[in-house]
């Protein structure tokens, strides 16, 4: 139990995938200027991350390892991700059109989110078991969601700020993210 808690705290706060490990930055910078869409994006990403962590574990353990094809991890995992994303899309579309309306637009973006592939690769290189892999996947998603949602609320606030012209838009978003990652350094050493 404690181990699980440690995995979660570590992946959400201390080694936050966005602010500390630099994974998944493009969607982080790109879509998060509206709180509502940030929440949708977060939910979709967390779901896909957890699912790919599981699926790529299976592919890794049951296909790649026995065949001695570790070097094919990248290509195999990216296929897994594409398939999972597509599956998720289909599944949601069919079972809950309401949810699909909320999440639908975000799903394709997730394929190109390198946090997803990053987590799969990291898990594979760390020799985790199935439970741990899934938890890392979920933790990565939760950490991504946390900063994405807070960040979007903050960007909404910045909409009215009197920012010097060259810094408007992406530049100030970068700087804000920098200050956020500064704050996250406070978590170092927690576990």
């Amino acid at each position: 139990m404690q181990e699980f808690a440690i995995i979660l705290v570590s992946s959400i706060l201390i080694n936050n995938y966005v602010l500390v490990q630099f994974l998944g930055l493009c969607p982080f910078m790109g879509v998060s200027n509206k709180l509502e869409s940030a929440i949708g994006m977060s939910a979709a990403t967390t779901f896909v991350l957890t699912l790919t962590a599981m699926a790529s574990y299976i592919v890794d353990i049951f296909v790649l390892m026995p065949l001695g094809l570790i070097y094919l991890r990248t290509i195999a995992f990216i296929l897994v991700i594409a398939a999972v994303v597509q599956f998720t899309k289909m599944f949601i579309e069919k079972t809950s059109p309401l949810l699909y309306r909320v999440l639908g637009v975000f799903l394709p973006l997730i394929t190109t989110n390198c946090a997803v592939l990053g987590v799969a690769l990291q898990n594979a290189s760390k020799d985790l078991n199935f439970m741990q892999s899934s938890l890392y996947g979920f933790g990565a998603g939760a950490g991504f969601s946390l900063v994405l949602i807070f960040f979007s609320a903050m960007r909404e606030r910045l909409a009215a700020a009197d920012i010097p012209a060259p810094f408007e838009g992406a530049a100030i978003a970068m700087i804000t993210a920098g200050l956020m990652s500064l704050a996250f350094m406070g978590f170092s050493g927690l576990v």
């Binding site: 070097y71 290509i75 170092s188 050493g189």
Partner: protein, 220 residues
């Protein structure tokens, strides 16, 4: 209609997969040896820093002995580890022992300690740590030479009490603004020396036994 689409798309993807598989597999087989070589070199490098190539003539990576479980706690190891033996002309001259101290400022610090079979230190390197950059990270040779202070020291030089930072009455320097990291490292090195003094005979015996095997395998 559906079936047709499935078949067409599947074939296209399969063709892709085929071509990539060929390309990748050939790249892999072309680079495989080179990669193994690089990996070996990298793994050797740390060991070689401690026992330079002039001092030994065996393959450090191959000459290994597992650490008995009863010593794990003393060395701070959670899941065991291997000791590398350096030899010259078949004679063991030094052992390279992995150790971990849990008492670093931010978590544990992993190191390898090379000890000559006469009980003096051949060299110490910190292999993994999360100490504060600028403060505790001076235990890393990249940042400071402090770790070289241990060369040639032993359990009698200094005495056991001297194995501490100056602040606590020992003989080793602490860093400005950071005492915890060096203290943890010093204590663990001393512990490792203690371990070695208890276990060196068994290591020697085992090394002699291994010699035959190694000769055999290298003959092949």
């Amino acid at each position: 209609m559906i079936l047709q689409s499935i078949r067409f798309n599947a074939i296209v993807l399969a063709v892709f997969a085929l071509i990539t598989a060929i390309i990748l597999a050939s790249t892999d087989s072309l680079t495989r040896d080179k990669i193994a070589e690089s990996e070996r070199k990298a793994a050797q490098r740390k060991l070689l820093e401690i026992i330079p190539i002039e001092r030994h003539d065996n393959d450090l990576l191959m000459d290994v002995q597992p650490i008995p479980k009863r010593f794990w706690a003393q060395l701070g190891l959670k899941s065991g580890g291997d000791i590398h033996i350096a030899r010259r002309d078949g004679l063991p001259i030094a052992a390279i022992i992995p150790a971990i101290t849990p008492d670093g400022y931010s978590g544990s610090i992993a190191m390898i300690v090379g000890i000559n079979f006469d009980g003096t230190i051949a060299g110490v390197r910190v292999t993994e740590h999360r100490e504060t950059p600028g403060l505790g990270d001076k235990v890393d040779l990249k940042k400071s030479d402090w770790i070289l202070d241990f060369d040639d020291k032993s359990l009698v030089n200094p005495e056991r009490d001297g194995w501490d930072v100056k602040k606590n009455g020992g003989t080793y320097d602490q860093f400005t603004g950071a005492t915890i990291t060096p203290r943890a490292v010093i204590h663990q090195i001393a512990e490792t020396l203690e371990y070695f003094s208890q276990d060196s005979e068994r290591l020697l015996a085992q090394a002699a036994e291994n010699l035959d095997k190694i000769i055999e395998s290298s003959d092949e």
